[in-house]
């Protein structure tokens, strides 16, 4: 968790640095009066690095992935709920009363 957070922050920093460098580069181009066609190669590399780090952090930091397959061990339905709305009290449990003397104390 901690590691992922640090890596994510690092990735964000790198992204910000890339943005800053691009702005600086454009400023430079304005002085030399050249056309802007794209950021320089090292900035592109930096961008990809930041993206990768952010990706990794975003996928690890929030927690584990849960399965969405209906047949996976987590989602496999093994029994239906008892149909409690239609529950009847007229069953053989009547013949076996609970032996404890349960009482609700006020």
């Amino acid at each position: 968790m901690g590691l992922a957070l640090i890596v994510g922050l690092l990735g964000l920093l790198i992204l910000f640095h890339a943005a800053y460098s691009t702005i600086q580069y454009r400023g430079l181009l304005k002085i030399t009066e050249e056309e802007f066609s794209g950021p320089p190669f090292d900035v592109v590399i930096e961008l990809f690095l930041g993206l990768l780090l952010c990706f990794w952090a975003a996928l690890t930091a929030p927690g584990k992935f849960l399965s969405i397959h209906p047949h996976s061990e987590d989602n496999r339905i093994v029994s239906l709920p008892a149909n409690l709305d239609f529950m009847i009290f007229n069953h053989r449990g009547k013949a076996f009363p609970v032996e404890m003397d349960l009482k609700l104390r006020q």
Binding site: P70, H71, R76, V78, P81, N83, D85, F86, M100, L102
Partner: protein, 302 residues
């Protein structure tokens, strides 16, 4: 629906609570969430929380939910005194509540005074004719008295208004199965599969009904639904695996005279048998010989 993880969690909590390890409130919440019927345990542990003033007051407003849960559990265990006390406490707190009115009528039901309960439900329905829970209680009451045909009538009438209620469809299907009216039960299960296509147990029940009905066409459909159950459970459902084997041998028996060779069917059967053998070897090695003889007789009879 109760999934595998929830089931293991429930069993773990139940063990823990039974051995005095605490966590009674979590257990009761889980029981409520999963809608399982563990009345005796709910009664015992719920009462111990309710009788402990400190624990009870720490629940806040959940206290009243617990009173209701314990009251119903007490009715199920025929501890009518406890149920009565709980309803009284709830009535004192919620003077005008319909929900408590339903609880009181259920108490009458548990006592066996059907006419009084019927009267109470009728008056509750006059106030609110669209109360689903009360309609369902009336069906259950008819069933408890043994008037199955009345229960079926009421359920059908109820389902005309509330068609999306899958619990009612399931109840109707189970009643029909208990009366051996398989065609009607099959219709109900079709409805259930339509509303909840990812629940393998409905596929399984539908396949069971079709297999019981018999006939070549029904058997073939049953096999398909057993296969879809296997698909949805990842091959962990033993009943569906047995169903495949039984269906295939029944189909080959029916089509014996004809030259049509169903290659795919026998392949499916041998696969299912293999999985069954593997499963038995892992979980119940001492029953393996019985299984192999049963499977052998199925393939020999074809």
């Amino acid at each position: 629906m109760v999934t595998k993880t929830e089931e293991t969690q429930l069993n773990r909590l139940e063990n823990q609570v039974d051995n005095g390890g605490g966590g009674a409130w979590e257990y009761l919440c889980l029981v409520r969430k999963l809608k399982v019927r563990r009345s005796e345990k709910v009664l015992k542990h719920g009462l111990s929380i309710l009788n402990d003033l400190k624990q009870r007051s720490s629940l806040g407003s959940d206290e009243w939910t617990l009173y209701e849960q314990v009251a119903v559990a007490a009715m199920d265990c025929q501890c009518l005194d406890v149920a009565k006390d709980c309803t009284k406490v709830l009535r004192k707190r919620f003077l005008e509540s319909k929900r408590v009115g339903r609880l009181e009528a259920m108490l009458l039901e548990a006592k066996g005074s059907w006419e009084l309960a019927e009267k109470a439900y009728t008056s509750l329905l006059e106030d609110n004719p669209l109360d689903q829970a009360i309609h369902k209680r009336r069906v259950a009451m008819a069933k408890a008295q043994g008037n199955i045909s009345v229960a079926i009538d009421w359920l059908n009438k109820y389902l005309e208004t509330f068609m999306a209620d899958h619990e009612a469809w399931r109840e109707l299907a189970e009643i029909y199965v208990s009366l051996q009216m398989y065609k009607q039960a099959a219709f109900c299960y079709e409805e259930l599969i339509l509303t909840q296509p990812t629940v393998p147990l409905f596929h399984l029940a539908y396949a069971d009904v079709l297999y019981t009905l018999g006939g070549l066409e029904n058997l073939q459909t049953a096999k398909k639904y057993y296969s879809s159950t296997i698909d949805l459970t990842g091959g962990k459902n033993t009943r569906a695996l047995f169903g495949i084997c039984l269906c295939t041998s029944a189909i080959t028996q029916l089509t014996k005279g004809k030259s049509k060779e169903d290659k795919e069917g026998s392949q499916l059967q041998s696969l299912a048998a293999k999985v069954l053998e593997k499963d038995y070897k892992q979980r119940a090695p001492d029953k393996l010989p019985q299984l192999t003889t049963a499977l052998k007789s199925l393939t020999l009879s074809s």
